[in-house]
């Protein structure tokens, strides 16, 4: 498996990566407009309210789009946007499966993979 670059953790995103270390996927929810968003912000990108809170995501989603990078890298990997059941799409990798079989619309579930010197990061595998 390729080395996963460590995410740079900062005070705003720390709860997300702390949760990832505990095997939990968090998503931000806005108490004012009642919308989820991703990536997580302290101020809602839809209504600009600061009443945002962390919610546990179900960890299930659907592949919105995907691509296997085959050249210029030591081994191919699959990048994707996955639309979570909460309605937001997140950039991720699809892992632990036949990469040629990954298709748009495929149901996937979250797994956590260690990064190189940082917290684990959420990825997805066929459900």
């Amino acid at each position: 498996m390729r080395k996963i670059p460590a995410p740079s953790v900062n005070p705003e995103n720390k709860p997300y990566f702390d949760a990832a270390s505990a095997g939990k996927l968090l998503v931000k929810f806005c108490g004012a407009c009642e919308e989820y968003h991703h990536y997580p912000r302290s101020i809602c990108p839809f209504c600009f309210s600061d009443r945002t809170e962390w919610r546990a995501a179900k960890g299930a989603g659907t592949v919105y789009t995907c691509s296997v990078l085959r050249r210029g890298v030591p081994e191919p990997y699959c990048i994707a946007y996955v639309t979570l059941e909460e309605g937001v799409s997140m950039l991720t990798n699809i892992v632990d499966c036949d990469l040629d079989a990954v298709k748009i619309g495929m149901k996937v579930k979250v797994v956590f993979k260690p990064s190189d010197g940082g917290p684990p990061v959420p990825m997805f595998t066929p459900a």
Binding site: P5, F17, S67, R71, G72, I79, A80, Y81, L91, I104
Partner: protein, 388 residues
């Protein structure tokens, strides 16, 4: 207030180099500036506004102004990646309309080929980028970012690899006439499909070249333009539109061109059907298809059909595009293709494109840029110009 008719592109120069290991980046900026001044028939002392983006070494415009010995009263270093230079031209026209300057120089130059850059390398992320922690771990690079757009476009609209290949085929038909083009060989749809897959569904020939070089344009007040000996290329309208992931409510198959194009057409008072030549940013074949739809040259989802069967080839197709060979075949200096898009549109309006690709009586042209990544965050910019 509108820029319409207030300013003109009076000078344009594309550096002939495609590999410049023996030159510095600052030197390339100065060489293209000199070339554009000579093309315009102006001198350095005429320049009172300077525009550049992140490819210019130094903090904003300061080092290059000092290096070139410019004396300016207006600067702008807006950086939206490869679309920056279209925005610079628009901002220069605004500044001219407001009386902030009379003659604006815009430069672009870089040496990514000599420096070993490629579209499968991770970019450098700033420590404080809010999006980086949620993207860098997943290995997003230029190629797989655009590939995700292509995959989704195919899924939503039935666009095919054959249709995308036609974009490259058309570019290659034009590039054969450009002695400076990196890739001058005419290719077929089959050859594009037979080239290795870089990031599904994009093949090597769906990707633009990596080249050294640069270009410059000079924008001047219309009265000054009329006093010069060159054909007058008047700016009619412009638009700029950033688009990102929208807090996770993602839509990858529409680009900012839907807004930048609409704004430019409105300001210019013309319609897509009026455009005789279009420079369309071609970092990848899919980039062209998405922008053609968003600019209104065809309906959303019908871009694949629109570009097929040579419809972008000058002389035979309905929408002659990138007659210099574009980023796909000619040149993509500094990994930023916006400048060369402007330059070829100027050549067409002046009647100075290669005779084999020159659009007859070309009076109205559009240049379209996309900077950043369509698969993550990008900024579209549109310019509409006419031969006065």
């Amino acid at each position: 207030m509108s820029i319409k008719g207030k300013a003109c592109i009076v000078g344009a120069y594309e550096h002939p180099t495609r590999k410049a290991p023996d030159k510095s980046v600052a030197q390339l900026h100065a060489e293209v500036a000199k070339g554009a001044l000579e093309d315009a028939g102006l001198t350095r002392g005429d320049i009172d506004g300077y525009f550049c983006a992140g490819d210019a070494p130094g903090l904003g415009p300061m080092s290059m102004i000092d290096y070139m010995g410019l004396k300016v009263r207006h600067v702008d270093s807006t950086d939206t990646g490869g679309s920056s230079y279209l925005i610079h031209v628009a901002h220069a026209a605004e500044a001219i309309a407001l009386g902030k300057c009379n003659v604006a120089l815009v430069t672009l130059a870089g040496r990514p080929r000599s420096e070993g850059s490629s579209g499968t390398q991770p970019r450098s992320w700033g420590a404080n980028l809010p999006d980086a922690p949620f993207e860098a771990p997943y290995g997003i690079v230029t190629a797989n970012s655009y590939a995700m757009v292509a995959a989704r476009h195919m899924h939503e609209y039935g666009t095919t690899s054959e249709q995308l290949a036609w974009v490259k085929v058309a570019a290659s038909h034009h590039a054969q006439h450009n002695p400076h083009a990196m890739l001058r060989e005419v290719v077929t749809v089959k050859e594009v499909l037979d080239s290795p897959v870089i990031a599904d569904p994009l093949h090597r020939m769906d990707c633009c070249v990596v080249s050294d070089g640069g270009g410059a344009v000079i924008v001047a007040r219309t009265e000054i333009a009329k006093s010069l000996k060159r054909p007058v290329v008047k700016l009619l309208g412009a638009g700029e539109a950033p688009k990102g992931q929208a807090g996770g409510k993602l839509s990858l198959t529409t680009s900012g061109a839907a807004w930048s194009g609409a704004a430019a057409f409105e300001e210019a008072g013309v319609k897509p059907a009026d455009i005789q030549y279009a420079s369309i940013y071609d970092s990848f074949t899919i980039t062209v298809v998405v922008q053609i739809e968003d600019l209104g040259f065809c309906k959303k989802g019908e871009g694949g059909k629109f570009v097929a069967d040579g419809n972008l080839i000058s002389g035979t197709g309905k929408l002659p595009f990138n007659t210099d060979g574009g980023g796909l075949c000619n040149n993509h200096p500094a990994n930023r293709g916006g400048m060369t898009k402007i330059i070829e549109a100027v050549r067409q309006l002046r009647g100075e494109a290669h005779p084999q690709v020159q659009v007859k009586n070309c009076g109205l042209a559009l240049a379209q840029g996309t900077g950043g990544q369509l698969g993550a965050r990008h900024t579209s910019a549109t310019l509409i110009m006419e031969r006065a």
